[in-house]
């Protein structure tokens, strides 16, 4: 949301531009992409701005090539990003799994539009929330962030780049058509004030270097190709130097690391916003663009004397299990508005004590609002639900 006290540095900016500018502020130096509505502006701006920073932009032939290019560039030492929407993201999932398995930092932006398939190119959706978690085959945890304003698009773009570097993984930055094309005032920070996670290069002699250390520290050091360090990169299960292995003990170390580097750092990764939650009897759980309607609905309900609050995950994955239990466990009813057929609510029900069993918590009702016709859920729609559950 815009600040009331604006200063001359405040400018009007589009959500997609904020993502591009945020990545540039975080040290992006390579972008490969295949333009797709409603994400095109991100590629467009990077193509103009990156060369000014000494970076490189390549328009690839498709999304498979795009994700492959940013993984390759990252292995060679670049900070990388690509941007797409649902149809392109589907093509990228193979590469995303490869980036996670090979622990190669990169950021994939998914500006969600109506689906399935090519769906509604110019309409918003939140139907790729589960895809951001489970899109690639094989068990690998995901990090996915989802802002709800232009200024937060900028901030979370920086954060996505930093988390990718710190945990050496593919981070997904979610947005949606309305958020991506929306314009709001934004006050850009002084670039010297932006906190950047820089890639740590190994100091050990090359022959001692483990590309995949058994007990890593974070940020996880990473050598780049061409620096004299020898390592192998494969999607196959691999040992500490990256060479394929079938051994159970070596595979276990790998799989444990992939899981635990996220699981042990939930507090570092997860961000939530609580709005008017302290005395609330009813809570709305909403993310991204739907949280804008939710916040407005909270204001409308409060004017009518109904105690409603909103909890918003800025980090969608890993899901904020502990925070959900802590802040939503004592609420009489929870309303989940989302532009899909119930993806966040499915996860919420898992955390709140089993899909069908609400009894173990005080929560008596989880009210779901789904919308997949290409239009936004309105504050009035949420207010109606509040009146029903109160």
């Amino acid at each position: 949301m815009s600040n009331n006290k604006t200063n001359p540095k405040t400018i009007l900016m589009q959500g997609n531009e904020a993502i591009a500018r945020g990545a540039l502020a975080a040290g992006l130096d390579f972008f490969a992409g295949y333009p797709i509505t409603p994400s095109t502006e991100i590629a467009e701006i990077c193509s103009v701005e990156l060369p000014k920073f000494g970076g490189k932009f390549i328009q690839m032939e498709d999304e498979i090539a795009s994700i492959s290019a940013i993984i390759g560039a990252s292995l060679a030492g670049a900070k990388t990003m690509t941007a797409t929407s649902g149809p392109g993201y589907s093509l990228m999932t193979e590469g995303i799994g490869f980036a996670k398995m090979t622990e190669t930092p990169c950021v994939v932006v998914n500006v969600m539009r109506g689906g399935p398939s090519t769906g509604l190119p110019t309409k918003p959706s939140q139907s790729d929330i589960m895809q951001a978690r489970w899109g690639n085959h094989g068990d690998a945890p995901a990090i996915a962030l989802y802002p709800n304003s232009v200024s937060e698009s900028y901030e979370l773009s920086i954060r996505a780049m930093n988390l990718a570097e710190k945990y050496r993984t593919c981070v997904v930055l979610l947005s949606d058509e309305v958020l991506g094309h929306m314009r709001e005032p934004i006050e850009l920070p002084d670039l010297s004030q932006v906190k950047i996670v820089r890639r740590i290069t190994p100091t050990k002699p090359p022959e001692w270097y483990q590309h995949y250390p058994d007990n890593p520290k974070y940020p996880m050091p990473k050598a780049s190709f061409g620096e004299g360090y020898r390592f192998h990169v494969t999607g196959l299960s691999h040992d500490s130097k990256g060479f394929p292995t079938n051994r159970a003990d070596e595979t276990k170390i790998l799989m444990d690391r992939l899981r635990n580097k996220i699981a042990y750092h939930i507090d570092d990764i997860v961000q939530i916003e609580n709005y008017q939650m302290q005395d609330a009897k009813i809570a709305i759980f909403a993310a991204g663009i739907s949280s804008r309607a939710a916040k407005e609905a909270v204001m409308m309900a409060r004017k009518r004397g109904i105690k409603v609050g909103m909890m918003r995950p800025l980090t969608i994955w890993p899901f904020p299990d502990a925070a959900v239990r802590k802040f939503l466990g004592d609420k009489k009813a929870i309303i989940v508005p989302e532009l899909n057929e119930g993806q966040l609510s499915l996860e919420l029900k898992r955390v709140m004590g089993g899909i069908w069993n609400y009894e173990i918590r005080k929560t008596k009702k989880i009210e779901e609002i789904h919308r997949t016709d290409g239009l936004l859920i309105t504050p009035d729609q949420i207010l109606k639900s509040i009146m029903e559950v109160k």
């Binding site: 815009s2 604006t6 009007l12 110019t122 094309h181 314009r183 709001e184 309607a293 309105t378 504050p379």
Partner: protein, 185 residues
């Protein structure tokens, strides 16, 4: 400065290619210059010309979160289709500004209605229909006062390419003049 809390929901509507999203961006930029809160959103089809197109601008000095206009304080309609579709969500206290070059039939409304052939006026006075968006936006700004006239001028000059600056400033002047005449009458 007026300290009263205000919130204005403005919808600029018509068809793709009429420059409505551009007008929305310029209006939002003017609001930033006025140091108030603003959010601009849009809806359009996959085609770059033709098809329904609209831009929403919400301007307020108080907090608001939902980014789309629901009940309009101001509706600009450049096509018959847009006028029919959106005039039912116009507040009774609202203002409809219709371009009678394309809007031939307006249902009875409680709201105040201004009917002018903006496209024809642009063609006649500027020799092109291109600045119809700026001309009608200037009219809207002068009638409604949602942003200051000087901020609108600055926003237009910042936004348009140098070679089109003169034409757009002329369009603003015409829009303001038409509005002054309406206010007097």
């Amino acid at each position: 400065m007026n300290k009263e809390i205000f919130k204005k929901e403005i919808r600029l509507s018509g068809s793709g290619g009429q420059g409505l999203i551009t007008a929305g961006i310029i209006l939002a930029k003017a609001a930033v210059l006025d140091k108030v809160r603003v959010t601009q959103t849009q809806s359009y089809g996959p085609e770059s010309r033709g098809g329904a197109s609209r831009a929403d601008v919400i301007i307020s000095n108080d907090e608001f979160y939902y980014p789309e206009a629901v009940n309009f304080d101001v509706l600009l309609a450049l096509t018959q289709e847009a006028c029919e579709k959106y005039s039912k969500n116009l507040k009774d206290s609202g203002i409809l500004i219709a371009d009678t070059t394309n809007v031939k039939d307006i249902v009875h409304l409680e709201a105040k209605v201004y009917e002018l052939p903006f496209t024809e006026i642009a063609m006649k006075k500027l020799g092109t229909i291109l600045p119809t968006n700026i001309l009608s936006l200037a009219f809207l700004v002068k009638i409604t006062g949602v942003v200051s006239e000087s901020s609108l001028k600055t926003a237009v000059c910042d936004f348009v390419k140098p070679q089109f600056k003169k034409m757009n400033l002329k369009a603003i002047k015409i829009g303001f003049k038409l509005a002054s005449e309406e206010i007097i009458s």
